[in-house]
């Protein structure tokens, strides 16, 4: 755990941080809102005492209550992985600015997050489905995803026996997990 990094982050991003900076093992975790993503990422990437030039990962998360987008960053100025969690996206219409203005290579990861969670990355010029067929209607990694319904909605429905629309009458809404995810 890199205490100096924690101090630096707290001093630099005091205004945009939501909650305190958490540290566990070799990871430092900050939480911000969707509005300040562009500024925070640019500052992390450009400023000489941070210089997080390597974007290791971009992941979408569905906690069951809200959507989150997680960035993992590496810098030669610290021994830790920096995890930037953008929280508070609504599950109905999650929107977040794209990171492709810094890392062109984030494009496909954002496409994947859109494909799996329906998160809209504003500024990504190629936000298509990447794994699922282009006319796919649902987002598989959401917690309320139900395969049988989804297969019934898909163009090839009716081929296999489990591809039939699930009638919500005989078993209520999708059971969400009790865990909050954090």
């Amino acid at each position: 755990m890199d205490r100096a990094l924690k101090a630096r982050l707290e001093s630099r991003f005091a205004d945009v941080l939501q909650g305190d900076v958490r540290q566990r093992h070799d990871q430092t975790e900050i939480r911000i809102a969707a509005g300040s993503v562009s500024d925070v990422l640019r500052a992390l990437h450009d400023e000489p005492e941070l210089r997080f030039v390597v974007l290791a990962d971009l992941a979408g998360v569905d906690t069951g209550r809200e959507m989150q987008v997680t960035y993992h960053l590496w810098s030669e100025t610290t021994r830790d992985w920096l995890r930037v969690i953008v929280e508070g996206l609504s599950r109905d219409d999650p929107r977040i600015p794209s990171a492709t203005f810094l890392w062109q290579g984030a494009e496909w990861m954002e496409r994947e997050a859109y494909d799996m969670f329906g998160i809209i990355f504003e500024g990504n010029r190629d936000l298509r489905r990447i794994y699922m067929p282009p006319d796919y209607t649902s987002f598989p990694l959401r917690k309320d995803f139900y395969l049988a319904d989804d297969a019934a909605r898909s163009p090839g429905a009716g081929v296999r026996h489990m591809e039939r629309t699930h009638d919500p009458a005989d078993a209520g809404p999708a059971p969400l997990r009790t865990g909050t995810g954090t």
Binding site: R24, H25, D26, Q27, E29, V53, V54, L55, A56, D57, A59, V61, D62, T70, H72, W74, E76, R79, W81, R83, L102, W103, Q104, G105, A106, E107, W108, M109, E112, M116, R125, D126, L127, R128, R129, I130, Y131, M132, P133, P134, D135, P140, L141, F145, P155, A157, G158, R177, T178, G179, T180, G181, T182
Partner: protein
Amino acid sequence: MATTASVPPGTHRSTDDPNVLIDDEYALYEPIPPYPPRTERELEFYTPGDGQLYLNMGPQHPSTHGVLRVVLKLDGERVIDIDPVLGYLHRGVEKLCENADYHQTISQVDPLEYVSSLFMEWAPVMAYEKLLDVEVPRRAEYIRVLAGELNRIASHALFMGWLALDLGGLTPILYSFIERDEIVEMLAALTGQRMLFNYFRIGGVNGDLNHDFLSRLGDWMSRAVNQIEANLGLLNENEIFVRRARGLGVMDSETALRYLWTGPNLRATGLPFDVRRAHPYSVYPELEFDIPTRSEGDSLARYLLRVEEIKQSLRIIDQCLEQMPDGPIMAKLPRLLRPRPGRAWAAVEAPRGLFGVYAISDGSDQPFRMRIHDPSFIHLQSMAHLLPGHLLADTMAIMASLDPVMGGVDK
């Protein structure tokens, strides 16, 4: 269902969307999607220029390394633009991992990059150990490093054969398969499986070193270098191969960072970024090895860099065999794992680059969210940057030099 309705003559229904009617003639000529372009990039790509034609490669193409489909925009033999289409091998591994318990996920992520499966196991195992605050015995760590480096050599050896095969050479692929087969037999003696070794366990490894493995390893190490050198004599010296691979898909380091390159491909552009040194994760701090880099950043550099990495891996294996401590190979853990809620990220240096796993626990016996970051996925993305201006013959050569594995690209 919509497919049962009759279609007017001269048209047929799209396999993507049965509500879309495609004019047969139009559909016969171009692989242009039957729906209006949805994004800026798609509009740009599927707007044909003057005298340009679209060529659809795959998913059943001899050399697309699996079931990749790429749509090429050609001007004669020269490639103007490329649009890879993924998803033909998509298995939803992340969803499956969310619904299997922590032990079972290891066998779920195993076949991601099936030529280097041990690394696919290493990252999730490390992530779970961080979630559970487990201390892994040092002997287990050494065994992991040993097996991992063997697997890295096997993967790199296979890469050279594939590159030569996509450049039209029939023989090198079989020589490298001979190399790979010896290593794979070794690992089978160690782990019990040839390809999808379900070997790493949370808090250790599945089995200890045995005499069969050690005897095979010693026998192979004595002649590995000469054997590999002899096989490479077919390529390193060959004028045709060198002239074709040189200056192919040149990438400079800044652009490589913007495209999130890692691993040998990034090192071939001159940046010595290696997770084993940049963020040491196992007993790698105790081992000494160099990080070879090259400055050209073309296919030949990627090829030669992997040759160097094979030698470094042999060094690491030697040191592992010397410094291998005694002791247990598994940490004490309950059979049913329920880590306390939290998040963990672990990244390893796979043969293709940074392979990371981001696991979220909600206190149950199954990961709440399991994110898998695969380097092949990232590297394949930059084809659209590397390819334009090259010839059709170089398409597969550049892709082979990036060394993607479709099992990892389509998770």
